[in-house]
Symmetry: C2
Subunit: 369 residues, 2 copies
């Protein structure tokens, strides 16, 4: 018997017959890509999708489980993504909410995960604080100075803004050097040990060169925007022999979840799929910030990052934006301790100066008001 895995959908259709037709179409489109009438029953039994169950959950939405043969997709992330949402991405009314992760040994989940990150950082029983070095256009020295201020102020994780890449104003290698020196000096002066996560996102082999340079410079983690360079690059870094934590950023991914009736659910993409591929930290835009995310969307991503039914370590949800130092206690109450709070623009806006604002924020995250 064929080894099969299930994909869970929410299908939108005008009625039961239309919903069934859509499910049958998915069964064929994501396997044989041929009409049913040119395929033998035996072929369909072995190689095509099978409709396992459908349940109407609203006037126009059916929760639907379809199983596919693992062999269609098992050798690579690209084959997997193609069976998951290749041609049907061009359709409509098809939203993916989950899959059977336990059928997928190629997905190992985060190398550190929540527990591993806590052990590596020596931080327990509280959330983590994070901020972004910006803006692009500053020199490596200027960014290093900001890194020093943030680290001295007690911020746990200081990442590059995802827009800092290898611009001539602050080339990757110069920035890496300046920020690692800043981290060391801040520790010597204050006893606060911040970690600098450089943005290693780059085309082709440059990604790996940047990652290895980060490891050689003593970084303990990196930032990557997997949708700019291919989702499998995230897994590639996770499987690299250098043990660095990985923080994933959602740049260029927005349309994948942008329509509530078609795409990948937020929970599935930013929680489960990124976690499966190896993200220790999953950045998403927090509700109340600059992006149209509801409290329910944020809660669902947090759940996906932490769901214990998934067969790998959990990830830190990393909500960014919409967070002020004065509201941190409230956010901790809502999101729990296993969260990284990412604060950006509002630190720069503070009248008390960036360093003092960062100290207030990191203090709030540590529970020191």
């Amino acid at each position: 018997m064929t080894n099969r895995f299930s994909i869970y959908f929410q299908l939108s259709a005008a009625g039961e017959h239309a919903a069934e037709s859509l499910a049958e179409w998915i069964c064929l489109e994501q396997s044989a890509e041929l009409p049913a009438d040119v395929l033998s029953a035996e072929y369909r039994n072995t190689f095509c999708g099978h409709l396992v169950r459908m349940k109407q959950i609203s006037e126009t939405v059916w929760e639907t489980e379809i199983s596919f043969p693992v062999l269609l997709a098992e050798k690579s992330v690209s084959q997997f993504l193609n069976v998951l949402f290749g041609n049907i991405s061009i359709g409509d009314g098809i939203r993916i909410t989950g899959i059977d992760w336990h059928k997928w040994p190629m997905f190992k989940g985060p190398k550190f995960g929540v527990q591993g990150v806590r052990e590596a950082l020596g931080v327990f029983g509280r959330p983590l604080s994070c901020t972004a070095l910006k803006p692009v256009g500053l020199s490596a020295g200027q960014l290093g100075k900001r890194c020093f201020e943030f680290s001295k102020a007690g911020i746990d994780l200081i990442k590059d803004d995802h827009g800092l890449a290898d611009q001539m104003t602050a080339p990757f290698s110069d920035r890496l050097k300046a920020c690692q020196i800043a981290i060391k000096r801040a520790y010597e002066e204050s006893g606060n040990k911040g970690r600098y996560f450089p943005n290693v996102t780059a085309d082709g082999e440059t990604l790996i060169r940047n990652f290895e340079a980060a490891a050689a410079a003593g970084c303990e983690g990196v930032l990557i925007s997997p949708h700019l360079i291919g989702l499998d690059r995230l897994r590639e870094l996770r499987n690299h022999k250098a043990d660095l934590m990985i923080m994933a950023h959602p740049a260029f991914s927005g349309t994948l979840t942008g329509n509530e009736f078609h795409g990948l659910s937020h929970r599935f993409l930013y929680g489960e799929l990124w976690r499966a591929l190896g993200a220790d930290f999953c950045i998403y835009p927090n509700t109340g910030g600059r992006f149209p995310y509801t409290p329910e969307i944020c809660a669902s991503i947090n759940e996906g990052c932490r769901d214990e039914k998934l067969p790998f370590a959990s990830s830190f949800p990393t909500p960014g934006g919409g967070i002020q130092a004065s509201q941190v206690e409230e956010w901790i109450f809502k999101y729990g301790n296993d969260t990284v709070f990412l604060i950006g623009g509002s630190l720069y806006r503070s009248e008390e100066g960036v360093g003092a604002a960062a100290a207030r924020f990191s203090g709030a995250v540590r529970g020191i008001q």
Copy 2:
């Protein structure tokens, strides 16, 4: 003065003030990612987006041109995609319709292009015919047999279905060998010289290994699904020293254009961007097939592939689906000679048998009814 390039948007908003706010937000979000009030006028002048012009084109849509400094994005496709549509992909009401391609020497366009493909194939003054080997699950030998039938029937380009990757039922190397033998035999028996384009899409270095194996086996082109593995991989193959034609498939890309108010326009993504990255052939789902594409969408992609204002060679639009042999004349009239007509399922459905149906289709494309 900063070297700038423009991005052209259609912004949807409830009124002029909201549209202007959205434009101002894009200027900052895609550069400094900081609020305006913490940035100096000099910084904004040098590094941020500048609103060049806005023009209302309907009650809720404004055509908008915003210029960004080239230096933010010039070193890699990932930096480019980030400035183009990184964070704002998570927004709403932002549709990209074009950019100033002549500012981008890193985009070289297709290596062959329409003229180069015609010279390589020795086919002039008519469209090209194309079909897909399928379904997944057949052995390499069975797929080779189909390749033989199609080639003997006079089909110009015989590509793998994009779902054929490296499944155990027909591993990539076995399939490559079987299909290249089939092409050779068909030529010896019939004088018809078909070209087999294997699907080289794969994670990491396997993509390059597959591409080089295809070149070594005497293939003249390959198929790639760039959205499954990262858009820059298309440019990487285009810049490879082996001169193979490249056919791009839209798997996993659907949501990028899926909402008429937010995303990349079909013309921009499947015409211009793929062409800029090096696609000689741009596959899209033809209107009247299994996907919700209108005649206007298809016409716009054709225009993007051929627009002479772009500073590189043109690509072949390659509409697939919704095409019957009996309607080919009509499609040629609509789409013109510089088109590749991709026929799939309907060949397999024909009562006269696959070989005879393929001969009728290839004959129709050659103008022999």
